[in-house]
Amino acid sequence: MKKISLIFDKKNCIGCHACEVACKQEHGLGVGPRLVYVIEKSSDFIPVYCHHCAKAPCKDACPVDAISRNEQGIVLIDGDLCIGCRECVEACPFGAMQYEENKEIAIKCDLCVDRLAEDKLPACMSVCPTGCIHFGEKKSIAAVFERTPRPKE
């Protein structure tokens, strides 16, 4: 099966944070963990999100094998197995791994695996006004950027 991933076209992120709220709603999260978020730095916006790395440091760091990769390449965490040691939070180079204080477990982007099963877009992607969020097969997703039509960019 082809491996899929999520990617943000950073230069088109306008910092509207719609992806964050759509994600929280989809995953029933309150204040605290932000599976996707946008950092504002002066007039720049930097989206932080899970890259579903081919060699995932979070997975490697987990001492109890609570993190796994499914056949689509989506890196998932099993909350029932997680012991809340935060090794994965430390290991993630993107800052995408989150910690759920209430439950004392780590939590992460699941690429809306349930929505994908229903042929729906990931929640973050579905609401983005500039269409800067893409998901798809790892090898072809880069082509999205090459298709950007504006010559001056």
Partner: protein, 696 residues
């Protein structure tokens, strides 16, 4: 366990319009999603709309009517609430006249039709909205200049877009949402951005003009200067369809040399020239402009000069330019409002009506005139108020005066979702329904040619949609209304041949696009032409030609004051999460923006020993407010840009911290500072100072 019902409806967390699919389970909305079939939003949905469930089911939300007994609130029935209000209003009307009752709404919340009808049938000419400085002011200025509001036409692919003081991808766009702009831009349209701050759009722009706040009218006249001097105008259109072109040309040549415009606006001459050329020589080209241009003394003049640009370049009512979208065929807001029901005898009593003629024509009063009447009893006493979906203590200029005036009313009714600082001053609180709890023919007040079916997904507590409150209260006052909310919608829809049920099924209606309509019947102005020389303003004894007026409180007008208050404060910084004073209690949104932000240049910060994230005091001759500093090297070091709308719902005392971070503690609402015909308050240019708070 019930299945999930999916209800197609329309958001109104800002001015509204975006399509939503509400997921309802066991009588509760559990989730909302963008509607990919929406002609307005195409599936996108912003933070405000997405967070509606946290607002609608918020533990602080008031779900039943209440009356004040001493310092406490007491739950009452709808019957008691409405009977009390009707009784009190009748009493005041008999003793002081209907004009002693002011009704007020805030920003456009899609009940304008019901609001105005209630006021007109009550017989009060005193209706306050945000329209004196937001949107309605633009409708008024375009009405007098070219007969109707010319909105940019993204659907027909403008090749050049002038984004003038506007960021529709972030915040309260009216006709079009950011998604449409983005599509047009991605198709390769040239982009000119006019903004005092370097933001996302400024960085992407072909040309960015970093204008001194409040000087947009001068910049527009600079554009005209280039267009006239270089002969870039559409000679045929100008000759046939512009009234007063020669007088206008003389004004531009005499008073708006590029040297002078540069001096006023801080924008370099060559950049003004390049931008004017790009706009005038790219067809079609559209101007998308925002409220910053309206929230100064130059409100009407800017809009008139901007319409002049559309007209002179032949982009008016041309596809892909700025067009008069065709109405979708429903009955209009004006007809529903029944303006004719307000007798002339009552109309002439309108507060400030003689002075602010354009506001008066738009059937509104600039709030300052109402505060004056409440506080002084002149020209007559105002005794009672009915405020709907508005929080003027936070969102109107000169908050100290607003608070004092509202506190002085004998009887105040507020309809809202929460006990806001304004609602805490009320005698009766009415619980309003959110957009999830409404049936309405939405967007009928806009100029994009669409109406949209907002249909009720749920009912929550005893909340009523405001439309119903107006109707039921009106009926108890002896006014003529319909039996039900839906009956009124049937009447609105009647000319389209659709019933409310059929309309809901259809989702929306769109007026058939038609362009260059003026070729058949001219423009809807007294001369049937675009009146760059306004016969209406002339009739009111005002300058008939657009101009720039220096802001009364500025480094140029008041240099002595500027020594004490050396910075120009623009109090209009917008955020994508909040809409004016709304949403501060919504956890998802407050997490993104926990504190009020003021943006300052790093040099300014260094001078005052301020670090990024420090709490700072902003101070003007009228008062002070506390916000958190965010450094931005993309603004002029002489300019400070602050968020508005802040209060603290988490402060449980009845003041809710209304005067702590409220930027309107600093703003001015003196008559001298306002637009002379519209009464637009100046929220974008005032003098201030900044210092680091001792307590961090």
């Amino acid at each position: 366990m019930e299945d999930i019902k999916k209800i197609r409806t329309v958001c109104r967390s800002c001015h509204g319009g975006c399509g939503v699919i509400a997921h309802v389970k066991n009588g509760k909305v559990i989730k909302v999603e963008g509607d990919p079939d929406s002609p307005i939003s195409h599936g996108s949905l912003c933070t405000k709309g997405l967070a509606i469930t946290q607002l609608a089911y918020h533990p602080d939300r008031i779900l039943y009517p209440m009356k004040r007994t001493g310092k406490k609130w007491e739950r009452i029935s709808w019957d008691e609430a409405l009977d009390t209000i009707a009784g009190k209003f009748k009493e005041i009307k008999a003793q002081f006249g209907a004009e002693a009752i002011v009704i007020g709404q805030g920003t456009g919340r899609d009940f304008e039709s019901h609001f105005s009808r209630f006021g007109n049938l009550l017989g009060t000419p005193n209706m306050i909205t945000a329209g004196h400085m937001c949107y309605l002011s633009r409708i008024g200025a375009t009405l007098t200049t070219c007969g109707r509001h010319p909105a940019i036409d993204y659907e027909n692919n403008p090749k050049c877009i002038v984004m003038w003081g506007c960021n529709p991808l972030w915040t309260n766009p009216d006709e079009y949402k950011g998604a449409d702009f983005w599509q047009a831009y991605k198709k390769g349209a040239k982009l000119i951005v006019i903004d005092p701050r370097k933001g996302f759009l400024a960085k992407r722009a072909d040309l960015w003009l970093q204008v001194r706040p409040g000087t947009d009218a001068a910049l527009a006249m600079g554009f005209h200067h280039v267009i006239i001097e270089e002969g870039l105008y559409d000679a045929e259109f100008v000759a046939q369809y512009i009234h007063g072109w020669d007088a206008f040309v003389e004004r531009v040549r005499k008073d708006y040399s590029l040297g002078r415009v540069e001096e006023i606006t801080w924008v370099k001459q060559d950049l003004i020239r390049k931008a004017a050329r790009l706009y005038a020589t790219t067809r079609p080209a559209g101007i998308h402009w925002g409220v910053p241009t309206e929230q100064t003394i130059n409100c009407t003049d800017f809009t008139r000069a901007a319409v002049g640009l559309m007209a002179a370049t032949g982009n008016l009512d041309a596809p892909g330019g700025n067009v008069f979208h065709q109405p979708p065929g429903t009955r209009s807001i004006a007809e529903f409002s029944s303006h004719r029901s307000l007798s002339n005898e009552q109309r002439i009593k309108q507060l400030g009506g003689e002075q602010y003629r354009l506001a008066s024509r738009m059937t509104i009063v600039t709030p300052k005139c109402v505060w004056d009447a409440i506080l002084t009893g002149e020209p007559y006493p105002v005794k009672a108020g009915y405020l709907v979906g508005t929080n003027p203590v936070i969102s109107r200029a000169n908050a100290t005066e607003v608070y004092e005036a509202l506190s002085k009313l004998d009887f105040l009714v507020v309809s809202d979702f929460f006990l806001t600082p304004t609602a805490e001053l009320a005698d009766i609180f009415l619980p309003a329904g959110t957009w999830l709890e409404q049936n309405h023919v939405a967007d009928n007040w806009k100029f994009h040619g669409y109406v949209l079916a907002r249909q009720k997904a749920v009912e929550i507590g005893e909340c009523w949609q405001d439309h119903k409150i107006f109707m039921e209260l009106g009926k108890r006052m002896g006014q003529q209304w319909w039996d039900t909310v839906e009956d009124a919608l049937e009447w609105l829809l009647e000319p389209t041949g659709l019933t409310w049920e059929e309309f809901k099924e259809k989702g929306y209606l769109h007026g058939e696009p038609k362009f260059y309509k003026y070729r058949e019947k001219g423009f809807s102005t007294p001369t049937k032409k675009v009146e760059l020389y306004s016969t209406i303003l002339e009739g009111w004894g005002r300058d008939p030609l657009p101009k720039y007026t220096e802001i009364p409180e500025s480094p140029i007008s008041t240099p002595d004051l500027a020594e004490q208050y050396p910075y120009i404060l623009n109090s209009g910084l917008r955020t994508p999460t909040f809409f004016h004073s709304a949403n501060r209690q919504v956890p998802w949104l407050r997490e993104i923006r926990p504190d009020p932000i003021v943006e300052i240049h790093p040099k300014t910060a260094m001078k005052h020993h301020i670090r990024d994230g420090d709490w700072v005091w902003l101070e003007s001759p009228r008062g002070r407010a506390k916000e958190r500093a965010k450094l931005n090297d993309g603004i002029d070091p002489r300019v400070i840009v602050a968020e508005h709308g802040w209060w603290y719902p988490e402060i449980k005392s009845s003041d809710h911290g209304w005067d702590v971070s409220n930027i309107n503690m600093l703003t001015d609402n003196s008559h001298e500072s306002m637009d002379p015909v519209m009464g637009a308050t100046n929220l974008r240019v005032l003098l201030c100072n900044i210092s680091r708070c001792e307590e961090q």
